[in-house]
Structures are given as C-alpha cells and as structure tokens.
C-alpha cells in the first residue's frame, strides 16, 4: 500500500461523491460547481494514469471553459426571470 494507491482511492471516492452531489443537488449553480470540482479531480486521475496530454486538455477545457459557459447560461436566465 504505497502513497500512489492511497491517492488513487481518495480521488476515486471523492469523484463518486461529487458526481452524486452534482446530479442530486437542488441548486443549479451548486450542481455546476460540483461538476467543475469533479473535472479537476479527473485531471488528477489522468495524471495518475500517466496521460499528461489528456490532463492538460481536461484542466483547461473541463474545469475552465465548460463551467464558464454553464454560468453564463444561468446568469442570462436569471436576468430574463427578473424582468
């Protein structure tokens, strides 16, 4: 049981918890935030599986751009709803 295995188990369990929360949370913004954190943990998973190219791509796109697109959609919806 070395350090890499322990990190692997922690990352796996955290990813499952975050995926469950992202699907089941009531608030849409919270759900998107959990998705972003899940993406960030998936980056750690890719690094553990020795795929640095995929890790860089997922870090930039998965947790940066996709989250911002979700948030922009929610902001525009909230603005229309306030009118």
């Amino acid at each position: 049981m070395d350090l890499v295995n322990i990190v692997e188990i922690i990352v796996s369990v955290l990813m499952l918890i975050l995926a469950f929360l992202a699907i089941n949370s009531k608030s849409l913004v919270k759900s998107v935030m959990f998705l972003s954190a899940l993406s960030m943990l998936a980056v750690v998973g890719f690094v553990l599986m020795k795929a640095p190219d995929v890790a860089v791509t997922e870090a930039v796109i998965g947790s940066g751009l996709v989250t911002s697109l979700f948030i922009f959609t929610l902001l525009a919806a909230r603005k229309v709803g306030n009118k």
Binding site: P52, D53, A55, V56, T57, A59, V60, I61, G64, L65, S68, L69, F72, T73, L75, A76, K79
Partner: protein, 248 residues
C-alpha cells in the same frame, strides 16, 4: 417508481460491463495491459512502414514520424485525417451556436457585478501571460504534453478573462472569423499539397530533422499551430455569442 426502474436499468448495465471485463483478452485487468501485442507498439517504434531500429532521443534522424511526443505523432501524423474531421465537428458546433444565439447583436450582456479599476488593469497584465502560455503550448506540442487543442483553449480562456474583467469589452469577431477560415483553409491546402506532390493526403513533405529539436517533425508543428489557432478562435466566438444580446 420511475427512479427505481432507472436504478435497475443502470445496475444491469453496470453488471454487464463488469462481467464482460472479467477474464476478457481484449480488456486486460487494470494496469496489466500488454502494449507490445497492440497496434500502439508500431506507433512507439515508428515502424508502420519499415522498422528503423532503435530510436535514441536527440540522435535518430529521418524517422517516418518525427515528434518526441508519441501522442502527437498519433494525433497529428498517423491519424491526421481524423483530426481534420474532428476540427470540422467543432466548426459545425460553433456555427450552430452562432445560428441559435446570433442575429443582430450590439450589446454586452449586463452582469450584476461591475469590475473596478484594479481588476481591469490586473487582468490586462495577466492576459498577456496566459496568451503567451497558450502559444508556447501550441508551438511545443511535438515535444511536451499539450499541443494545439489545449493551446487553443488557453488562448480562448485569455479572451474570456478580458470579457469578465471589463463589462464594455468586445473582441473583434470579424478578425476571429478570418483567422479561423485562414487556419482551416491552410490545413486543407497542406493536405492537398501532400496529395499532389507525395501521393497521399497530408503527406509529410518537409524534412523530419533530429528527434527532440524544436525545428523537427516536418509539417507537424505547423499543422498543430494551425489547429491551435482554429480551436482558439472558434471557442472565443462561442464565448462572445454567450455574452452578447440583442439591443441598442
């Protein structure tokens, strides 16, 4: 009741996946894959057409595919035609977003927060650094992890930073569209040149050089930089479409 049915369906699917993975030759257990029996070994040895023998970093010359990063060799050389199709898919999706959210757009979407002076100036300074990192990643795609796709996405995130830090800012979308068309056309033209002079599409016409040098691997850095420019301008266009609305 519906949730229970969905739960049962998902459990059956998971059971089928786990059972089919157990004792299957095509899917060995986690961490026990045998690469030497797979087609990937030919990509690692660069021996698809002929066997060059041992490859030493910084010494081997005239390989059939020059990049030191083997993933780049697959994405931009052995399977470059797939990548052309994939870039086309991204182009079609950005076209769809522009069609759905487009129209006569004049105004930025009004957000609830208004950035102050420090935020504006600080993000202008950060913008240059992020842009340079993106270009660096795209140019060194054949030597280090990264390449055109993350490089282009990083260029787009530097534009996103400018959009967030200034609520008046709008990028010159016409320039992005021209850059995107230029990059896409140049990619196809490089492929057609290879077809005319070398006999097949996207043939590597330039000298491969020494593996590991910055100026090596023939057309692959050029193609990857073009992919980076195309991805960056497409995603910047998507961000602009999401952050503008019709108005005065």
């Amino acid at each position: 009741m519906k949730n229970f049915l969905a739960f049962i369906t998902v459990l059956v699917l998971g059971y089928m996946i786990v059972v089919s993975l157990d004792n299957n030759e095509a899917f060995p257990a986690y961490g026990e894959a045998d690469v030497s029996s797979r087609v990937s070994q030919a990509f690692i040895d660069r021996s698809v057409t002929e066997d060059p023998g041992d490859i030493i970093f910084g010494q081997a010359t005239n390989l059939e595919s020059g990049p030191a990063n083997i993933v780049t060799a697959i994405v931009a050389d052995y399977r470059s035609f797939d990548t052309l199709g994939e870039v086309t898919v991204l182009f079609v999706s950005s076209l769809g977003v522009a069609l759905l959210l487009g129209g006569k757009k004049q105004k930025r979407l009004e957000l609830n927060f208004h950035p102050n002076f420090m935020l504006r100036v600080g993000s202008r300074a950060l913008f240059g650094i992020i842009l340079m990192t993106g270009v660096y990643i795209a140019i060194h795609g054949h030597l280090t992890p990264g390449g055109g796709f993350p490089g282009g996405a990083m260029i787009a995130s530097s534009m996103l930073l400018l959009y967030l830090a200034d609520d008046e800012f709008r990028a010159k979308i016409k320039g992005f569209k021209m850059l995107e068309s230029f990059a896409g056309t140049a990619y196809v033209l490089i492929g057609l040149t290879g077809l005319l002079l070398g006999g097949y599409f996207l043939e590597n016409l330039l000298d491969n050089g020494v593996i590991g040098d910055l100026f090596s691997a023939g057309i692959i850095p050029i193609v990857y930089v073009l992919i980076g420019l195309k991805v960056g301008s497409e995603i910047s266009g998507i961000i602009d479409n999401f952050l503008t609305e019709e108005g005065v």
